[in-house]
Symmetry: C2
Subunit: 568 residues, 2 copies
């Protein structure tokens, strides 16, 4: 392709305050165009990258599923059936845009944010006997999610491409078998897309909306990522923050003597930061106690070392609750006798279930709310002031410096971006739609499902975040818009011949045939980030300058040498 | 691909009362799945056809434009700028689907039914100097149109693929040059897609919403089509019905004597059918006179031979009106003195502009409303009862039997389906968005635009309508999901070898590896419509049965002979 074929120019005025790194560079290079926050048009070169990503994904998915293409418009009823019409907070619906349109057809539709609701009734029309299983379908299709914040360029869009695959099984065991195979296929995709297994992990993650079980995510180290993962060095086992089991750094105070319990009046001293300043102690010496109420009306008091957050999801599971919410100020008053802000574990009514995080353990002379308005206790000690519980739990959100409880190793902690996820949906959707199959004995049993996602446009953004440098984009060979970026400096005739020679030999070549300065051509080549830059000029004679985007070294080569290198 | 890879079955229960021919066959074959009226999922084999269509379109468009991919979500403002937010009667907008979503982000967007509104501001950011012109961009992208009636399968969908191309020029002349080139490119696409130039035409069509000039459509003969085209046999010039100039069959009554004018009371006798019965005359002898009002408040009386309809678009142009609407009953009363239903051309106030269609000419003793309630006149004659007008016009809707006025040839008339359209938008959108370019002299001038559409999914439906037979689908070689449909009857080992041999030789082969009856396999092969069926069975020995989908002849060939035939 020639540069003159593309009616888009590079720009120098894209603000890095308004745009994330990936959006800024892709906008600057004219690879994408922003329509609204989180809504991007793919321009010619950007679209080539996206399509190469799609092609790799497609080739690998074809080995384990049949491709289809579902629609974005969905009948409202199927989203009512699963209840997600009312619960998905990024879901959009459509309406006629004007009165004229309303008169002609006033139907409303859901605009698909994902396709479990559509695929389940679809495939159940065709596959009802055990003989039809297992099977899987996938698509690469546009999703609509009205994200409240869409500020990470291609990493979080309101309209974006998704590869979504759905698998169907007659047993949980068969689902699990396929689930493991899908991990291997995903690794092949990510290998081919240029992700390194050195800094890309399969993490255990929460099942989210879909399941109370875990799901898995593929996370790659990335400063712009929205996730934090915790990795066990010896085993490589990796967790998303929200599910990472954690053991806090030990506070060995066994040499310290118990000091006398003190009650300190601190009107308006609320929260760890206030306490640290007011009492002149460390955050580790404070205690955070919160009261929750579950769906059964049980009151749960949960206490952690003051510099931790309580992970409600962990606490929910430990306390065998379906849902948890913080109690109201009135309930706090009723239970503790004090205003909110001074809760501790002293003298709680017997109805209250007390849970202590393991970070509470082994401390001496720590602080805790006194259950009296304005009063904090200091020099609290187990055994003397507070009974030592039968058991400590782990319901804090893991932090840098925490240990993996089973081995005591300190976690490696990484900022990461999600590039894929796989969910065992089990029977959630088959039950909602009454999708049963007939087994060998003629019995009707629910179908097991899995769901497997990769966002091609998101992948493109993540690769920019990871590999671009101060000069511009840097593309892995497999997805670069073109392999070769050809520049001629006043040697257009020779360049035309080289351009055609490369094309004839099946090399994807981009030729900057514009009438602009050499400096502009070089700068744009760096900005576009194609793997190989070839230059011919007065200085190169019959030879051609060869330079890799990622290296400084320049070689003078003949066209034959270049073809040989490229065909390798 | 093996049949067992596809989790979709053929069906025998698709109703031809509920579905058009193309939808019925594609549903029956498991090529598509209906989600709602006009909303279809493409299943594995259907998607392969669609993607082959896309590939051909893409290869040809790449020769004249740069590919991009715009979004479906558009800011409401750009649709306000052109006024089409309020006028497009199939336009949809999006809203949050529930209260939770509304709280997080209550933005509304337009869901694109076409992309002039989006592409114009996009490209004007990059191209403002005459040096940047001409250029063109295109995409193959999903469109949303909330069609009130969506009953023609893939021919009219609410969500469908569209190839839309937009070209940009510094003059009308340059636009016209590109416009002519686009016709050639379109022909190459349609040739490759299997349309014959024998029964596919470029027709002159109305400019629709876009322009008061003409546009052009590619129309192919098709019983299920929604259009009727009129073709001049000697020149091949073809018109869409709504713009076809027409000369009515001559009514030579010169030998007939003028009969005395009669007034006949016919209370409630309104309209041509009533009159024909009531007066015992032919429809040709009646006259249809309608009163219109234009945007200037002028009253226009238009009269045609009773068996014709008035074409308002033609009349609008002839009467130099911007808009025309039928007058109210009150106005009819005021102008004619009579109730509605008895309008004629007698004694109209001088403010009324009278237009007579050429079909009025050369008649004698014809009928006409008397401008008196309940009264019709018969035996009306020019010269005696009604002054002969200075000029007759052509503002009727053309009908079978009509002539092309310039040559007097009787039109060939075809029922057709539109498969592509091209519009000279001229400056409509550049003016709405203030898109000006700077010419050589530094002057600011408006940009000229063209718009060029092809609907790939519609094309698929039209090809089914045209070529399918009573046994099922019939695909042109270029877009068949696979070239070869391989069937084994109890010779699975040999079939597996042939399957792999064909694949190794680059032949696209579909292998029915199911454990079903031979009859079912043959029926499905016919239904799927791939060009070549290969069968191995006990009867075929070492050889293989070769049959074309469109022929009855069966040959016994060796695998080498088959490869030779296929590679041709």
């Amino acid at each position: 392709m020639k540069y003159s074929h593309i009616p888009f120019k590079t720009s120098k005025t894209i603000s890095s305050e308004l745009h994330s790194k990936n959006a800024k560079l892709l906008l600057q290079a004219g690879f994408i165009h922003q329509e609204m926050a989180g809504v991007y048009t793919f321009l010619t070169l950007g679209l080539r990258v996206l399509e190469k990503i799609n092609k790799i994904i497609k080739e690998e998915m074809d080995t384990i599923a049949a491709e289809i293409q579902m629609t974005s418009l969905a009948p409202i009823e199927i989203w009512e059936k699963t209840g997600r019409k009312h619960s998905v907070d990024v879901l959009m619906k459509t309406l006629p845009a004007n009165e004229k349109a309303k008169l002609k057809n006033d139907s409303e539709y859901v605009l698909g944010s994902t396709h479990e609701e559509m695929v389940t009734p679809l495939v159940m029309e065709f596959n009802r006997s055990y003989k039809d299983f297992p099977f899987a379908v996938y698509q690469i299709q546009t999703k609509f999610r009205n994200e409240p914040r869409a500020k990470s360029g291609l990493l979080r869009c309101r309209e974006f491409l998704m590869k979504d695959l759905y698998s169907f099984h007659t047993s949980e065991e068969d689902l699990r078998k396929y689930y493991e195979i899908s991990k291997e296929v995903y690794w092949r995709v990510f290998d081919r897309l240029g992700f390194s297994r050195q800094d890309t992990f399969i993490t255990l993650a929460s099942g989210g909306d879909f399941t109370k079980d875990y799901s898995h995510e593929f996370q790659t180290v990335c400063d712009a990522g929205e996730d934090i993962v915790f990795r066990v060095p010896s085993t490589g086992l990796t967790f998303n923050r929200e599910v990472a089991p954690s053991k806090a750094p030990t506070m060995d105070q066994s040499n310290e003597e118990m000091k006398p319990l003190e009650e300190v009046e601190g009107k308006g001293v609320i929260g760890v930061n206030d306490l640290v300043k007011f009492l002149g102690i460390t955050a580790e010496q404070t205690t955070k106690t919160l009261l929750f109420e579950n769906e059964k009306g049980e009151i749960i008091a949960a206490a952690v070392r003051g510099n931790y957050e309580i992970n409600e999801e962990k606490l929910r599971k430990i306390s065998h609750s379906e849902t948890l919410k913080l109690t109201s100020a009135e309930t706090v008053k009723r239970i503790t006798g004090a205003e909110i802000g001074y809760v501790g574990l002293f003298n709680l009514p017997s109805e209250v279930k007390i849970y202590m995080d393991e970070s509470m353990k082994d401390r001496r002379n720590f602080e805790m709310g006194a259950n009296k308005t304005f009063i904090h206790c200091r020099n609290v000690n187990f055994g003397r002031d507070l009974p030592l519980p039968e058991k400590f739990y782990d319901f804090k959100t893991a932090k840098q410096g925490d240990m993996y409880p089973e081995t005591g190793e300190i976690y490696e902690v990484y900022k990461t971006a999600e590039i894929g996820n796989i969910f065992p949906l089990n029977t959630k959707f088959s039950k909602a739609f009454g999708y049963m199959f007939t087994n060998e004995k003629g019995e009707q049993l629910p179908v097991y499902m899995g769901s497997y996602g990769i966002g091609p446009s998101r992948i493109m953004g993540v690769l920019v975040e990871k590999y671009a440098d101060e000069k511009g984009l840097v593309w892995p060979d497999s997805i670069a818009p073109f392999v070769v970026h050809l520049i001629s400096i006043n040697k257009n005739e020779q360049a035309e011949i080289i351009y055609k020679t490369l094309q004839k030999n099946g090399i994807e070549v981009f030729y900057d045939d514009r009438d602009v300065s050499a400096g502009q051509k070089f700068a744009d080549a760096d900005l576009f980030g194609m793997p190989i830059r070839l230059v011919i000029s007065g200085k190169t004679g019959e030879k051609i300058e060869w330079k890799k985007r990622t290296e400084e070294k320049i070689e003078l080569l003949t066209i034959d040498e270049i073809l040989q290198k490229l065909q390798k």
